[in-house]
Symmetry: C2
Subunit: 254 residues, 2 copies
């Protein structure tokens, strides 16, 4: 039979994993899913995930694809994989896509959310999914600073040194902060992100939110293209990959 191209939409609580990407001697999300597919289909599988989320980072909308020549009906894949997978990884959608669909290369944009809890005591039911940072933050100042990142810019100031990609120019499509009681949410959508970019932006926003830096400083840090100027890296546990968008999304949904 002919080879099918399968697209997975995936949610995970990243707390227990060393990130998405398979590594020697470390438990990763990619490995858990690949092994589950192999167990189910008894065929070797190469799984390509759109975002290589770091250790401790979560996802509500990771996307991956793999090629396979097994006859399992698409809908059965979801149920069967969820039975095999541990509770902290869930496949929410399985679709058979065009043979040339590539979860990594075809990505049009990615959307992340970062969650901060400013309450005095850690929120025991959300503690895995937020940065617990007691102390008031000025959400309005953070929102003003966040908005000035929108557009096509060189984000070198917000990339960690480990990022070896040639260009640090990206386009941020949306960047906004919302406060709700003790909670601060930062949402950002871009055509791509540099290594640790969201967490470095959040570290900077927090310096502004706590009043140590003025709102205008965000613009200066961005313009400087200097990694030493941004705030410190915010913890992984507050970060969640919400959604990956594709050029083919409209086509698939039709």
């Amino acid at each position: 039979m002919s080879t099918r191209n399968i697209k997975l939409t995936i949610q995970y609580d990243g707390t227990a994993y060393h990130g998405w990407q398979s590594q020697r001697n470390a438990d990763t999300v990619q490995q858990q899913i690949s092994e589950s597919i192999e167990r189910l289909t008894t065929r070797p599988v190469r799984l390509f995930g759109s975002s290589r989320t770091d250790a401790g980072v979560h996802a509500l909308g990771q996307v991956a694809h793999f090629h396979i020549d097994c006859p399992v009906p698409t809908e059965n894949f979801r149920k069967a994989l969820n039975k095999i997978l541990p509770d902290d990884i869930v496949i929410t959608d399985v679709t058979e896509v065009a043979p040339d669909f590539d979860a990594i290369k075809d990505t049009r944009s990615k959307r992340y959310r970062y969650t901060i809890c400013t309450a005095k005591v850690p929120p025991v039911m959300q503690v895995r999914f937020c940065w617990h940072r007691p102390g008031t933050l000025n959400a309005e100042a953070m929102q003003t600073a966040a908005a000035c990142l929108i557009g096509r810019h060189d984000f070198k100031s917000f990339a960690s040194a480990a990022d070896k990609r040639q260009s640090s120019v990206r386009t941020i499509l949306g960047s906004s902060v919302q406060g709700e009681g003790p909670w601060i949410y930062y949402e950002v959508e871009a055509d791509g992100f540099l290594y640790n970019m969201v967490r470095n932006i959040v570290g900077t926003l927090v310096e502004i939110g706590r009043g140590r830096w003025r709102v205008e400083r965000m613009q200066k840090i961005l313009a400087a293209r200097d990694r030493t100027l941004a705030g410190s890296l915010a913890p992984a546990c507050g970060l969640c990959l919400l959604e990956i968008r594709y050029d083919s999304d409209d086509r698939i949904e039709e």
Copy 2:
């Protein structure tokens, strides 16, 4: 120095624990907190918790008290204990109370919430705190059935056989179901609960919500005082102790 009586308000994610009550060879919430107090004060401590929550049950408002003759200021207790305790147990409040305050005997009422998720796929970020039960439930029918439990009744039909207390008469002060998208919340407040009472009520409400039993059946089950008639026991992970109220609450808050 004189002995002080300390009241703790406690939140926990019960997933990793064999319930509240200390047991041989099992990790419990009571044990974790007692040991933390002993480590902090270097004094032996007996901790009395208002609710002996079962294995896997959570709490946002458990209350406990203990007597101690150590000079640590009350506010420092909270911070110091939270540093020692694991991430899934949090002390939210520490108050010095009247010498005769008793977290168990003085309880006026307890309030629980039970959470059901009816979505097709498990909600990865809330999976520890709900019963994932795919399939539509009629929240209105459940609400009508829940409301008829309010008042002073013999709740023998909803007690597990392990309950050895003499009287099974209790007063339910509030009992209501709310639906919000795929989520169903049941909240119940009473002057006391029989063993597994909330989870047995939820098991019964679900039979009504899925349409297998009529709304009127709740009234019949209650009147029958027969343990074999109620629905099956709902899983522990959906249950959360929200609040304990005391006669002394007004006095303390003044």
